[in-house]
Amino acid sequence: MRPRPTFLLHILNRTAPWLWAVALVIALAIRIAQRPDAQIALTSRSALSSVDSVLFQTLGQPAASERILSWLSASVDSRPLLVMLAPGNPGANQTAELISYLAWPRPVDLMIVPASVKERYVEAAQGRKYAGVCFCSLHVAPDPRTGIGIGPALTCASFSGPRP
């Protein structure tokens, strides 16, 4: 049922269109003054175009997915992979997740390890339950525009160990 016309409704019918018009103008002005957020642009046309584009932004290397996949497929060892990443770096975190993405169906353990003690962890991991290790550290000359370090900062190694 429609509400009965009241004084309030009369005032509203008179003023609302103008108020909405003013709001629209303000919104338009705010939008024009805004700068768009930096997104990760597509830089590759490969099948894994998004993975390559993200890895290009974090590692600075084109077609990185292909190289990581070939490294992963070279190892016939089906034991899990250990990915260590430097603490407090979102770029390293995303790189580690993408290694986990590419490694599927092989299990991948993620471990946050400070760069200064990574050798100790690599030694501990070698010959145990892992088939290989990757260390993601992106503390290399952060780009002042994006805040993300650019550089060849992903190191991967396969362990030669007994086959499962």
Partner: protein
């Protein structure tokens, strides 16, 4: 899309014609739901070509059912037949945000959760023959990638991979664009049915362009996040219930019912939106017929319980983000509430993301209350119920509160933004007295 349109046509009831935009918008979402469900269930027994053939057969049956319904007299109209050229041009303004987002979608890469949570599942499913193997859900080393999240979007993407025969992330871009177009189509239809103004429908459908978050500049729906499909489905529920309450359209109730079932199948957050949808249904329904309300709840309830059971059978390790509910913990963590509410207010007032969308909403609600009386409770419940429910998990989060709020609060608000736009649009116009069918009748008969 064809299978989804078949579902929509089959579920449409009543004498009112279906708008073409409604059929396409609801149809895309119903199609995603049907295909993903068929892949998930069919994948238990079949893989590879057999699975594809089985899903195609299901889709074919739904298309045939839709065609049969068309043959039996369900009318599909554009709604523009009686419009003057200027009005038709105004209605077509809704195409601008679709074109804009289309440009962004083909410019930006999938990233973060869009890649490692959602598209990851699609790739795994494709590499496993079309559906995810049981070992995927029980892998303890990938719990951080939210393996227990529902499968609507990943399996829809997987369907693309199965059709193309290879993993091609560029080929997935149109999926996101179709969800955005579906949301705009449902917004346009809802505004047109509730205001019957081509101008309001066109201009308000264009408003997402004024908010960076809604037009693909921020947040990340162009990066493959699932908030856009969730927001589109919730808009479909609210628009359907509102149309049913104001115009008495039986078909709209059925559409809302279907869309509410889809919410928890898109993402676990969908269960909160489903609870919001139930609150809206309760308001719209006015306790007329409890059986109808129970039937409305059934699809969503089935999805939630079914998915929980599936995870239990698959031995999926639980996610370790929230503490289990207890009164002691609630009392202990209650001092978090002012921080959470303050973060919510700050987020809503953040013009860099939302422009003045949320600041306009209280005025829209006030206008709706004055102009439409009790019907205004529908959008108010649709926004406030999920918003209040969304805040509760933060009280029990195990993550640092600031980090958790900063990484997810904007996405929860995003899910409600299309409903906010619908409310603002409808508040601009006085309620219509004549029935909808009068506008859609051929010009000669009018």
């Amino acid at each position: 899309m064809a299978a989804g349109c078949g579902v929509v046509l089959s579920a449409w009831r009543g004498r009112a014609p279906l708008l073409l935009t409604e059929m396409l918008g609801y149809g895309w979402m119903a199609g995603a739901a049907v295909i993903s469900l068929a892949l998930a269930l069919g994948g238990i027994f079949l893989t590879g070509s057999a699975l594809v053939v089985c899903v195609l057969l299901c889709a074919g049956i739904l298309v045939a059912a839709g065609l049969r319904k068309l043959w039996r007299g369900v009318k599909v109209k554009t709604g523009l037949r009686n419009a003057r050229p200027v009005q038709a041009a105004a209605a077509c303004l809704a195409l601008l945000p679709i074109a804009w987002v289309g440009f962004h979608i083909f410019r930006d890469a999938f990233a973060w959760d869009g890649l490692s949570v959602w598209e990851f599942k699609a790739r795994c499913a494709f590499l496993s023959g079309g559906s995810l193997p049981a070992s995927f859900f029980s892998d303890p080393t990938r719990v951080r990638l939210h393996t227990s999240y529902p499968l609507c979007i990943p399996l829809t993407q997987d369907w693309y991979y199965l059709i193309f025969g290879k993993v091609d992330q560029t080929a997935l871009r149109p999926v996101i664009l179709c969800f955005f177009a579906a949301a705009i189509a449902i917004l346009w239809s809802g505004l047109f049915r509730l205001t019957r103004s081509y101008w309001i429908a066109g201009i308000v459908s264009m408003l997402p362009l004024l908010s960076p978050v809604l037009s693909g500049d921020g947040l990340g729906f162009t990066q493959g996040y699932c908030e856009l499909p969730l927001a589109a489905a919730y808009l479909a529920v609210v628009a359907g219930l509102w149309q049913w309450q104001e115009a008495g359209s039986e078909g709209a109730w059925n559409m809302a019912c279907l869309a509410s079932g889809l919410l928890p199948w898109i993402k676990q957050d969908g269960a909160i939106l489903w609870a919001g949808a139930m609150a809206v249904a309760l308001v719209a329904h006015k306790r007329q017929n409890w059986k109808r309300l129970v039937l409305f709840a059934a699809p969503g309830m089935l999805t939630i319980v079914g998915w929980k059971l599936a995870l239990a059978v698959l031995h999926a390790p639980p996610e370790d983000t929230f503490d289990s509910f207890s009164l002691n913990l609630l009392v202990k963590n209650l001092p978090r509430l002012p921080i959470i509410v303050s973060a919510l207010v700050q987020e809503c007032a953040w013009t860099q993301s939302w422009n003045i969308l949320w600041m306009c909403l209280p005025f829209a609600f006030a206008t709706l209350l004055v102009r439409r009386g009790r019907a205004a409770l529908i959008p108010i419940a649709a926004i406030l119920c999920p918003l209040c429910l969304d805040l509760i998990p933060y009280i029990f989060t195990k993550l640092p509160l600031g980090f958790h709020l900063g990484s997810s609060l904007d996405r929860l608000i995003f899910q409600l933004a299309p409903v906010a736009l619908l409310s603002i649009g409808v508040s601009m116009h006085a309620p219509c007295a004549k029935p909808m069918e009068a506008d859609l009748r051929p010009a000669s008969a009018a």
